[in-house]
């Protein structure tokens, strides 16, 4: 390998982000955080690394196999690099902010690191931005989180945002008290109705009804209401119905689907959960839902910045103007105040116009006047 290659090569799943994408990403994050802040979500900033036990506690356990560990030489305890920020924010809410008034609305943005990328998502480091609503357990709280996350994407300019609402705790609720059924999870995960019917036994018809109740929200809810459910399962269904009504009336531009049996990646959710897609992308833009934060009911949403940026139009080109060597500082200041990006010449050159083109400036300043380069 050449010396350049040796220095340039990064470990798998990590990359440098260059101009103008780096500034674009920061700008998009800022706009998202402003959307969250406008509805009372206050920003917190947890550390990159913390003790493994607290990072992987409760709903954080799902991230165990994705987490980089290092030994803290000071305390001799294991520390984990965050692979997801939600458990950190939940920890802050239930410890340091335990006495803050409820419902508590927090937002966050930061980078996470994962041990291994998947084939579909090879990035090991990517940005997350999200919200957590802690200490409110109602359909209104579920809907607020869904609407805020999805609308923030619409406001950024993501076209055709789709939200898939799920009830990951519904199937475990129906199966509770029964012996574990071989092959059931696999059949449900694949949406294979015939296989669900074959292995489901006595609860097969109910589970098949749930699989068939996936699809566009309105007709799917009608099918779901025909499935005979009782007790907690019926309560979950009522909750989902209420959330669908709230979301569709507040944000009719969203494509809403429901999927009562989707459970992959939602192992720790206790109520309605959701995944956000966009028509142009095969990857999820975000996901979230209801979980338990150390005894308190909470709902949250996380957006994945890498996939969000993929579906957004690229950065808008900035207006750059070249200031020839010796331009008074105040003149540059005045142009910057008008919204120009100024690039100052650091030495006298023969042809200022050629120099401005070389430095990717569309304009230059000549004798106090702006002219095209």
């Amino acid at each position: 390998m050449t010396e350049f290659a040796t220095r340039a090569l990064l470990p798998a799943g990590l990359r440098d982000i260059l101009p103008p994408q780096a500034a674009h990403e920061a700008d998009v994050v800022t706009r998202l955080m402003a959307s969250f802040a406008a509805q009372g979500y206050e920003r917190v900033k947890p550390p990159l690394i913390e003790f493994e036990e607290s990072l992987l506690e409760g709903s954080g356990a799902a991230m165990s196999k994705h987490t980089f560990r290092v030994m803290d030489p000071v305390t001799q305890r294991m520390m984990g690099v965050r692979a997801d920020m939600t458990p950190q924010v939940a920890r802050i809410a239930t410890t340091r902010l335990a006495n803050a008034r409820r419902p508590l609305r927090l937002s966050y943005a930061g980078q996470v690191l994962r041990v291994k990328g998947s084939q579909l998502r090879p990035e090991r480091q990517f940005g997350q931005a999200g919200i957590e609503l802690i200490g409110a357990d109602s359909a209104a709280a579920d809907a607020e989180v869904v609407i805020l996350a999805a609308k923030a994407l619409v406001d950024l300019g993501v076209g055709e945002v789709c939200v898939d609402l799920t009830l990951p705790s519904l199937v475990p609720e129906i199966c509770s008290g029964l012996d574990e059924i071989d092959g059931l999870k696999d059949a449900l995960d694949h949406k294979d109705v015939a296989a669900v019917a074959a292995v489901g036994g006595a609860i097969g018809p109910i589970l098949c009804g749930l699989v068939e109740a996936a699809g566009p929200a309105v007709p799917a809810l009608a099918r779901l209401s025909a499935v005979p459910l009782s007790g907690n399962a019926a309560a979950l269904r009522e909750r989902l119905t209420a959330v669908v009504e709230l979301v569709s009336s507040a944000a009719p531009e969203l494509t809403l689907t429901i999927d009562p049996v989707e459970g992959r990646g939602f192992e720790y959710h206790t109520g309605p959960a959701f995944t956000i897609f966009a028509r142009q992308s095969a990857a999820e833009l975000g996901r979230g839902g209801r979980y338990q934060a150390d005894g308190e009911s909470a709902a949250g949403a996380t957006l994945f910045m890498d996939t969000v940026l993929d579906v957004l139009p690229g950065p808008v080109a900035v207006r750059r103007i070249f200031l020839p060597f010796g331009t008074p500082f105040a003149e540059g200041q005045a142009l910057r105040a008008e919204g120009w990006v100024t690039v100052a010449g650091l030495e006298k050159v023969a042809d200022d116009r050629a120099e401005s083109r070389r430095l990717a400036c569309g304009h230059l300043l000549v004798a106090g006047g702006v002219i095209a380069a």
């Binding site: 694949h190 294979d192 990646g265 966009a278």
Partner: protein, 220 residues
């Protein structure tokens, strides 16, 4: 309509294609004439539906195209689906074609004296290293897999390793190579698969196609 907005159906080359085409046609998708021309070098074919194209790729690649959303719908054996275990793929329909089984085989003379319950480490030639490693790990056996893309049956006789994991339909290939099936891993059939994001973002259209394939499979 741009190519990216089209619905793409991915079909596997080879054995399964002959069994799958009657179902595809019964579901109402008729590819252009070039599709049946064995000399054609084309990989992508238009159909009687202006917004649906068919691509013909290797069986393993069907799953990859669909998982990445490059194709929205496809037909793949559950051997391929189990090997990759992509969470982005739904397999809503068993088409009951391409029937066979995935099995462990070893030479006949070894099978007489072998006691699989005493294994701690075995070496296996297979096209399915992930399924094989998972299958043996479940029994506490470490499987060192040698990935081959075909002709697994040669491996034992040439001393590459003593055991193989491969698809078996009639068992005649095993027999011809002096091998015997010693363990059943899974029953295999071909499934209709769809991309998860596509099903969520174009639910009406994809559900309608799943239903039409279901009717076609039930009628077959």
């Amino acid at each position: 309509m741009s190519d990216l907005q089209k619905l793409v159906l991915a079909l596997p080359k080879g054995r399964i294609l002959d069994e799958a085409m009657p179902l595809v046609r019964a579901a109402g998708i008729e590819p252009e004439a070039d599709f049946d021309n064995p000399k054609s070098r084309a990989l992508r074919f238009s159909t009687n539906h202006p917004h649906i194209d068919i691509i013909r790729v290797r069986a393993f690649d069907v799953a990859t195209f669909v998982a990445f959303g490059a194709a929205q719908i496809g037909i793949a054996g559950n051997d391929v689906l189990m090997e990759f275990d992509y969470p982005e793929i739904y397999a809503p329909l068993d088409l009951k074609i391409g029937l066979c089984r995935l099995a462990v085989a070893e030479p006949v003379d070894l099978a007489g004296s072998d006691d699989p319950s005493r294994w701690s480490h075995i070496r296996i030639a297979t096209k399915y290293p992930a399924i094989t490693a998972r299958h043996f790990a479940r029994r506490g056996v470490q499987a060192e897999c040698i990935k081959l893309n075909g002709a697994m049956e040669l491996a034992p006789s040439l001393g590459l390793c003593r055991r193989i994991v491969d698809l078996v339909s009639t068992g005649s290939t095993l027999k011809a190579n002096g091998l015997v099936e010693i363990e059943h891993i899974a029953d295999i059939s071909s499934r209709l698969i769809v991309n998860r994001a596509a099903l969520k973002t174009q639910p009406d259209e994809l559900s309608a196609w799943i239903d039409r394939f279901r009717e076609a499979a039930d009628a077959a």
